[in-house]
């Protein structure tokens, strides 16, 4: 049997799209709108996550040591601190380092320290806490346990900040999941329906092709290509518009959302996923709609 190559099916798909331009333009517009919403949500969500994560990396707790601990006591304490769940890192800050830091922090008021005879500050272990332990009083639990360890004078951390961070993290995680499910379901629905609507008007054509001896593959292939073309085109258009808006935006307009690297555009991987996912949906939509008309 003679057959045609992929270029033939691409050309046929292009002809199909052009000859039904109104329906296809509508489908394209709908898909583009849906992906604009998805893209925008992703943009906000990803930046928010980065920002909150960066805050999480600065979640710290200071463990002040009693005076006159022997080196072996200190080592034992360090081991216990490190094995405490929720503690990611522990670093010793000697009283001298602490004083130097304090003086640096109080710049302009060095006189205050000149009268100081001996360094009144204690040695301390600075702990970095896993952001998962922010909020829900979990930090407080850790602090209480550590306060009971041998050789610990006092434990201090920013309680309010930690609780706030915990809430933010929860919001970002669950809010993100909720948004993903909601948007995911609607986008699958919108896109597969747009493709189906666009191809529905072609039932007559599909039926006729079968009557004049077309194989299943010959009928199906251009529709699949059309489905993929409409959706990837719609998604690319959405990404393009989003990128345009992003660059037109004044740099500090969305500063409140930005992480340490500033407000970032969608990473390439996410863009590829968005367009590729749409393409898959288009393929599925095309397959479903053609099969409706095939005997």
């Amino acid at each position: 049997m003679r057959g045609y190559g992929p270029i033939f099916y691409l050309l046929e798909a292009y002809r199909g799209l052009r000859s039904n331009s109104l329906v296809n333009a509508l489908a394209l517009g709908t898909i583009c709108m849906a992906m604009l919403i998805v893209g925008f949500s992703l943009l906000v969500f990803l930046n928010l996550t980065t920002a909150v994560r960066a805050m999480g990396d600065r979640l710290e707790m200071s463990v002040f040591l009693k005076d006159g601990l022997s080196p072996s006591d200190r080592d034992l304490l360090l081991t216990r601190l490190k094995s405490e769940s929720g503690v990611r890192k522990a670093a010793l800050v000697t009283k001298d380092q602490a004083l130097t830091q304090l003086i640096r922090d109080m710049k302009g008021q060095e006189k205050l320290f000149q009268s100081l005879g001996e360094n009144p500050l204690p040695d301390s272990y600075e702990l970095t806490i896993d952001p998962a332990y922010a909020g829900d009083g979990k930090m407080e639990g850790i602090a209480k346990r550590i306060a009971g360890f041998f050789g610990v004078e006092d434990v201090s951390y920013g309680k309010q900040g930690a609780e706030m961070l915990g809430k933010l993290l929860r919001l970002v995680t669950y809010g993100g999941m909720f948004l993903a499910v909601l948007l995911g379901v609607s986008v699958v629905f919108i896109i597969s329906n747009s493709v189906r609507l666009a191809l529905y008007s072609r039932g007559q054509e599909i039926e006729l092709m079968q009557w004049i001896g077309a194989t299943r593959w010959f009928v199906t292939a251009p529709f699949l290509v059309e489905g993929i073309l409409i959706t990837t085109l719609g998604a690319s258009l959405a990404v393009g518009i989003l990128a345009g808006l992003f660059h037109a935006l004044p740099g500090d307009a969305m500063l409140f959302l930005s992480g340490p690297g500033g407000f970032q555009f969608l990473p390439t991987g996410v863009i590829v996923l968005m367009i590729g996912g749409c393409g898959l949906l288009g393929l599925a939509g095309g397959l479903v709609s053609v099969n409706k008309f095939l005997d």
Partner: protein, 237 residues
């Protein structure tokens, strides 16, 4: 070329074809007549594998259609042309594109498509309207394009279901003339119609159906005339 033996077909328990037995030889020109609801369309659809018979043997060009899987149906159809009462041209495609589609469907090399489409259009006298879309043509012209499409792949067998049903008598005559020419070049032709005047004047084999049965066949009556085989005009639907 075509043999049917005791073919039965019913829709939801109501018989549409009963014990149909007849055959068509290569090169024949056959009219299938009978009143509306007699089963003409059903019979053609079965020959075209658009419907499946419930019982009986159907042998087309040596192939038993009962044994054909769905994937071989397209290839069987490529040996048959089909002309519909309502033309079934795609309204958004030009006359040329409508013909070209039939060529593409069977995988005709790109370089041959134009030449062959134009040759077919020339045969039906529609060469000058190749760039128009079907809605801009008269019914007779649309049917001529449809005939060109059914011929473009040079089928051995041409089926037509009420091809003149939507046409005025003069256009109808033109279409029948086309079928006659096609038949003279060797294509077997089977036409379902209740255009009784034409059927009578054209002096070809007539198979009459009524309520799902073949009630007369002019080929048989030539051999052994009997009153029961008298040909009666069908009532128009």
């Amino acid at each position: 070329m075509i043999h049917l033996y005791r073919v039965n077909k019913s829709y939801e328990g109501i018989p549409a074809l009963r014990e149909i037995t007849f055959s068509v030889d290569k090169g024949e020109f056959v009219f299938l007549t009978g009143p509306s609801g007699a089963g003409k369309t059903t019979l053609l659809k079965i020959l075209f594998c658009a419907e499946r018979a419930d019982e009986g043997q159907i042998i087309i060009q040596g192939m038993n259609t009962f044994r054909l899987g769905p994937s071989s149906i397209p290839y069987l159809r490529r040996n048959m042309g089909f002309v519909f009462q309502d033309y079934k041209l795609l309204p958004h495609k030009t006359v040329f594109e409508n013909i070209a589609l039939a060529l593409k469907v069977v995988g005709t090399p790109y370089g041959e498509i134009e030449r062959r489409a134009l040759t077919a259009l020339k045969k039906v006298g529609m060469l000058n309207k190749e760039h128009l879309t079907p809605p801009k043509l008269s019914g007779g012209e649309q049917q001529r394009v449809a005939v060109a499409r059914s011929l473009v792949n040079e089928p051995q067998f041409l089926l037509a279901d009420e091809p003149t049903g939507n046409l005025d008598p003069a256009s109808g005559q033109e279409i029948f003339k086309l079928f006659k020419e096609i038949n003279m070049k060797g294509t077997t032709v089977l036409i379902a119609t209740h255009d009784w005047e034409t059927v009578r004047t054209m002096q070809r084999r007539i198979v009459a159906m009524e309520r799902g049965r073949i009630v007369s066949d002019s080929r048989d009556s030539q051999k052994k005339p009997s009153p029961a085989a008298a040909v009666r005009p069908g009532t128009a639907s």
